[in-house]
């Protein structure tokens, strides 16, 4: 199968217009030494029907969240995605457009991004949001780049209770940025503001996740103050679905707020594509990476939207740009906007409260020792299961339940710890089932 449209007659007429006798002649500029003198070694072309059968077979070899009762979280969450998100994202005019370079033909995407930026600013309490970053890890690297140039400092601080993948991505970017990375350990599941303050001396920024990777609420305002005391930019890495319940980072002194947008209306999709969000106080607007949409008018005074402050970007500033990002995650950010519009402020609060209520109920119902007994948690928490957690996962999955994420792979000494997540999609009956299965496999 192919998606080509030319007939034989078309091809002949076109070659004649060009003035060559074969397609081969069009490639005259390619030296013989760099040409492939055989067919690509790929399996024969497939029809749509064959493709469908093959991909259905591949898909059937996976266990998605609907096929087993899943309590997996650890950064990606099985929240409900309403049908309306699919409806909007499959509109061909939006799905098959590119970056809105020509605003007269792109008011749909431009206005949607402006509305998205507004939603992110409202959630985070910030002044400016970009049009999206790749995911919740790369926006942390972006934040470090902003902070380095805003402060002239070359050290960045991360809390150990921040998502391990976020920390690893920052460490990967750091040498190129000329940055040194320092981590502040957690104390019983949360970060000590005094330790963060000490580490932030001479630092460009301090990044903390809240609720943190263990699901525990950090002393967020104190952490932001601690970073600011040391004149480092305070950066909160937040879950958008927590922000109906938890205070906005802009309201407790953060300079930047970043996060993973997946929980807001994006499918799990085995890790992507999703969107990362990055919002800041207005002081940092000229240091923001990526696209930003601004409002303006045409000559007749009609309101319209354009890509603005583009001199920050690579196509104009080249080696001095604030980032190399070009293609971003607009469609997924649009999914986030549709989802947040569907929820509204009440719905957002209710999602957060529902997750908290289910998680609190589960704490009691499971009756297993909490890793961190003192902290308030949001939608997930860590428990000790008395056996290697990886084995508990294996045995529970044989019973149709995925009980959570084995924390030992990221944190030494936590081999018997599971991180268990509760979205609004779970029910009390499903928690009963989890309790039953955990009791069963613990005894193995």
């Amino acid at each position: 199968m192919s998606y080509l449209a030319l007939t034989e007659a078309d091809r002949e007429a076109m070659l004649e217009e060009i003035g060559v006798s074969s397609i081969e002649e069009l490639f005259v500029d390619l030296p013989a030494g760099v040409r492939l003198d055989r067919d690509l070694d790929l399996r024969p072309a497939m029809t749509e029907q064959e493709l469908t059968a093959y991909f259905e077979e591949l898909a059937s070899q996976n266990a998605p969240v609907g096929a087993e009762l899943s309590f997996l979280g650890a950064g990606m969450y099985d929240h409900y995605v309403p049908a309306i998100v699919d409806t909007v994202l499959q509109r061909g005019e939006l799905l098959t457009a590119y970056t809105p370079y020509q605003p007269e033909l792109s008011q749909g995407v431009l206005q949607a991004i402006f509305e998205y930026q507004t939603a992110i600013c409202e959630l985070t309490g910030m002044d400016v949001s970009n049009a999206s970053g790749y995911d919740g890890t790369t926006v942390a690297a972006d934040a470090c780049f902003i902070a380095k140039h805003a402060t002239g400092r070359t050290k960045v601080v991360l809390t150990e209770a921040t998502n391990p993948q976020v920390r690893q991505v920052v460490r990967t970017y750091a040498p190129g940025f000329g940055l040194e990375v320092v981590e502040v350990p957690h104390r019983d599941g949360a970060t000590d503001p005094d330790e963060l303050r000490a580490a932030s001396e001479g630092a460009a920024c301090a990044i903390f996740q809240h609720p943190n990777f263990f699901g525990v609420l950090e002393p967020a305002a104190e952490l932001a103050a601690a970073a600011s005391d040391a004149e480092a930019l305070a950066v909160a890495h937040v879950d958008p679905l927590s922000l109906g319940v938890l205070e906005a980072p802009g309201h407790y002194g953060c300079a930047l707020a970043i996060g993973e947008g997946q929980s807001a209306g994006n499918a799990l999709s085995y890790g992507g594509p999703h969107f990362g969000f990055l919002a800041a106080r207005s002081d940092f607007i000229r240091r923001m990476p990526g696209r930003i949409v601004g409002e303006t008018t045409d000559a007749a005074g009609n309101r319209g939207y354009v890509l603005t402050l583009q001199t920050r970007e690579q196509h104009i500033r080249r080696e001095k740009a604030t980032s190399n990002i070009t293609t971003n995650q607009t469609l997924l950010a649009l999914g986030g906007l549709v989802y947040l519009s569907w929820l509204g402020p009440e719905g957002l609060r209710e999602v957060g409260e529902t997750c908290m209520a289910l998680a609190e109920h589960a704490k009691n119902r499971l009756g297993l020792p909490l890793l961190f007994a003192d902290g308030t948690t949001f939608k997930e928490f860590a428990i000790r299961v008395g056996r290697p957690a990886a084995e508990v996962v294996r045995d529970a999955r044989e019973r149709g339940v995925h009980p959570g994420y084995a924390l030992g792979r990221d944190y030494p000494g936590m081999d018997d710890v599971l991180l268990v997540a509760f979205t609004e999609k779970r029910t009390a009956a499903e928690i009963d089932r989890l309790a039953e299965v955990l009791a069963e496999v613990q005894a193995l």
């Binding site: 000229r286 603005t308 583009q310 001199t311 104009i316 500033r317 001095k320």
Partner: protein, 131 residues
Amino acid sequence: MAAAESYPDDLRYHPEHDWARLEGDEAVFGITWFAQDALGELVHFEAPEEGAIVSKDQSYAEVESVKAVSDVIAPLSGEVLEVNSAVTDAPETVNEDPYGAGWLVRVRLSDPDEVDSLLDLEAYKQHLVDA
């Protein structure tokens, strides 16, 4: 409103389209009509701090239009005494009056002899023709 093309004869010019007006051991810097015309309406002036040391032929600031960003090159070396806040607040002042209200910084010169290497009006006009 953009100014009409002009190049005053009381200024000294740098080939990167910057000018200096000498006032004793101080000088005022700006960009030429040619530079502002090439950039278009300015929307941002990234000014140096007062007290900053600037070096001849090196960038000391940035000016931006919506289509381009340009380093501003110091025609002479010295210390920044004053930044023109009228331009910081309203960068289009440079387009309106590049040699008057649109000046950028006032500098105390550290090496007044450097002036000898700058272009006079005739030499700068020839430079524009050649470029």
